[in-house]
């Protein structure tokens, strides 16, 4: 069964994203997709979806959504919470890294993301039309998303109604943490266009994130990376998200999900897949350090991330929230039991406690 949600506040920097649009880079179409596919998977797992179902990516502040028909489970990942206002006027606080289920008439107001991006998964995934094999939004060419654009007030998003028990919510036992430490890169494809000192600087000096950042790229500021006699322009060749190009001014630009498919600046290195999601969370002024790794190390890091995510998903727990009519709980004796996380759900400003696992 399907469900429909209406956008009643569009939020800021919100777009529909999925794993991206592979297969069209040969005609100049960027791959796009979630800036942090790990957190996209996390939101989807919470909502009971396939890990690559289309989600709403929130860059600044989240949207407000009203369930018009059907019962919808909303999963949140990233440092981003929400408020659920139900049809009885109750206001429930929804913590990050958990789900909230909307019955027809309920409204969820998703808050700001404290840094980087957060993801909103809807049960069954956001079902906008696929274009060129993906629902991901690429604004410049009006591909994917909601008719080629970001969601607007009044848009209606379709998803699946909750299967199974709608009184059950899900939460992560702990937030997902990305790896820390220097950003791992593989040198090339044009590290031979730089002086030896430039490569050493790149791998030893900090590079500060500037305000000039979007889904296409991230400009950094630091010790100038000097090109050698081969120069600061090349005959255009292929790039990928994570590629670090260096124009004549010597300041690196890290390409992100919406990057062009080819470029004419020498590329000193490319961020490995396992670390690229971390760059979705940097803020202006943050300092990045880079370290060169081998293909074997990069592959091991990615496999490790996949295993870590599987372990994280394995620890998602269900719980019965208070503040909703919970017949099962009414008939089962114990309303308050087990481990307590007092900060999650608030009814009229009063913290309510609930059992860790009634499921």
């Amino acid at each position: 069964m399907s469900a429909i949600l209406e956008i009643i506040d569009a939020g800021l920097a919100v777009s529909v994203q999925d794993r991206g649009r592979a297969g069209y880079r040969n005609i100049g179409v960027p791959v796009s997709g979630a800036l942090d596919p790990v957190l996209m998977a996390a939101a989807n797992e919470l909502a009971g979806n396939a890990s690559e179902a289309a989600v709403l990516e929130v860059g600044l502040s989240g949207p407000s959504l009203k369930a018009l028909s059907g019962t919808v489970r909303v999963g949140l990942s990233g440092e981003m919470g929400a408020q659920l206002v139900n049809t009885r006027g109750q206001v429930l606080k929804v913590a990050p890294w958990q789900t909230a289920t909307l019955f027809p008439g309920d409204v969820i107001r998703i808050g700001g993301v404290s840094h980087g991006v957060g993801y909103v998964a809807l049960s069954g995934g956001v079902q906008v039309a696929e274009q060129l094999g993906s629902r991901s939004t690429y604004l410049r060419a009006a591909i994917g998303g909601v008719q080629g654009r970001a969601p607007r007030v009044g848009d209606r998003l379709q998803c699946d109604a909750v299967r199974g028990d709608p009184w059950l919510e899900f939460r992560a036992r702990a937030p997902w943490h990305h790896d820390t430490g220097p950003i791992r890169v593989i040198l090339g494809p044009q590290e031979d266009h730089f002086t030896r000192e430039a490569v050493e600087n790149f791998l030893s000096r900090p590079y500060a994130v500037t305000r000039d950042m979007d889904r296409m790229g991230l400009r950094l500021d630091g010790e100038k990376l000097a090109h050698n006699e081969k120069g600061a322009e090349i005959v255009s060749d292929g790039v990928a998200p994570g590629t670090i190009q260096v124009p004549a001014n010597g300041q690196p630009i890290v390409l992100m999900a919406d990057c062009q498919t080819s470029g004419g600046y020498p590329k000193i290195a490319t961020v490995i897949r396992a670390d690229l999601p971390r760059l979705a969370h940097v803020r202006p002024g943050d300092e990045l350090r880079f370290v060169a790794v081998s293909h074997a190390e990069a592959a091991a890091a990615l496999r490790d991330q996949v295993q870590r995510l599987a372990a994280w998903v394995g620890m998602i727990q269900s719980f019965r929230p208070p503040g909703v009519i919970d017949e099962a709980a009414l008939y089962g004796a114990n309303l308050i039991c087990g481990a307590v996380r007092g900060d999650e759900w608030t009814l009229h400003g009063v913290n309510l406690q609930y059992g860790a696992h009634h499921g």
Binding site: G23, L132, R140, D237, T261, S262, H295, R303
Partner: protein, 255 residues
């Protein structure tokens, strides 16, 4: 296909842990581009036979082919060795795509840089238009924007550097030149190329799943000057989705 021994070996370059660039040279050159087309064609064949497991897609450029793969499904170093071997085996292909006659309006409002180019080259407007419309251009690659074609073959007489200060907005469908290259902007975008005309055609249509980009690497293009009235009529037909693109193919060629 030409003799593989005549070719210098390709270089393989890392583009992170999920792509290899197979580089055949570092110039804009029909011979190098022929190897790009030959290698891409070999990858097409192997992929159709299911023999490129884990390879997601590949992107031909002027001088190289970037092969994107899923590092969870493909061992990067094994793929490196396979691609190096294939690059040694693949031959050259000459441009063998479609041959298009594409309408272009050279009126002043569609061609804001035409007078300046003519003046810089000591030519009349008509001479510049004649050179543009007599040339058979070849599509080397698509990139920069969806459906943005880089065309080689611009006569040396029209070789001009990019604008010192790029425009913040290049109107969509502009036909532009820079260096020895020509291009067409499918989308409104910033850009530093010199604008010599405008086509009424949609160069990219995401709703056309079979061929979203009008042009493909290896295609040939001849610009055909049209007057304002014809331009407007074409534009209306395109907007209404009634335009038959196959009418632009030169006789004897197929899409």
């Amino acid at each position: 296909m030409t003799n593989e021994l005549a070719h210098p070996p390709a270089r393989l370059l890392s583009v992170g842990d999920a792509a290899w660039t197979v580089e055949f040279g570092n110039a804009i050159d029909p011979a190098i581009h022929g190897r790009v087309l030959g290698f891409s064609s070999l990858l097409d064949t192997l992929s159709n036979d299911g023999r490129l497991d884990g390879v997601v897609e590949w992107v031909p450029t002027f001088r190289s082919v970037t092969v994107h793969f899923d590092p969870l499904r493909t061992d990067a170093l094994a793929l490196h060795d396979l691609l190096a071997e294939l690059a040694g085996k693949s031959g050259s292909l000459s441009a063998a795509g479609c041959r298009w006659r594409i309408p272009v309006c050279f009126d002043a409002d569609c061609a804001p840089d035409l007078d300046e180019v003519a003046a810089a080259k000591g030519m009349s407007r008509e001479e510049v238009v004649r050179l543009m419309t007599e040339t058979v251009f070849t599509v080397y690659m698509l990139g920069f924007l969806p459906g943005f074609p880089y065309l080689g073959g611009l006569p040396e007489a029209l070789d001009m550097p990019r604008l010192a200060t790029p425009r913040k907005v290049v109107p969509s469908r502009s036909i532009a030149i820079a260096g020895r290259m020509c291009a067409a902007y499918p989308w409104e975008s910033p850009g530093g190329w010199r604008l010599l005309g405008r086509t009424p055609l949609r160069l990219f249509d995401a709703a056309n799943a079979r061929r979203p980009a009008l042009l493909a690497p290896g295609d040939q293009v001849v610009w055909q000057a049209v007057d304002r009235e014809t331009f407007d009529a074409f534009e209306r037909e395109c907007a209404a989705g009634r335009f038959d693109l196959s009418s632009l193919l030169t006789e004897g060629e197929t899409a």
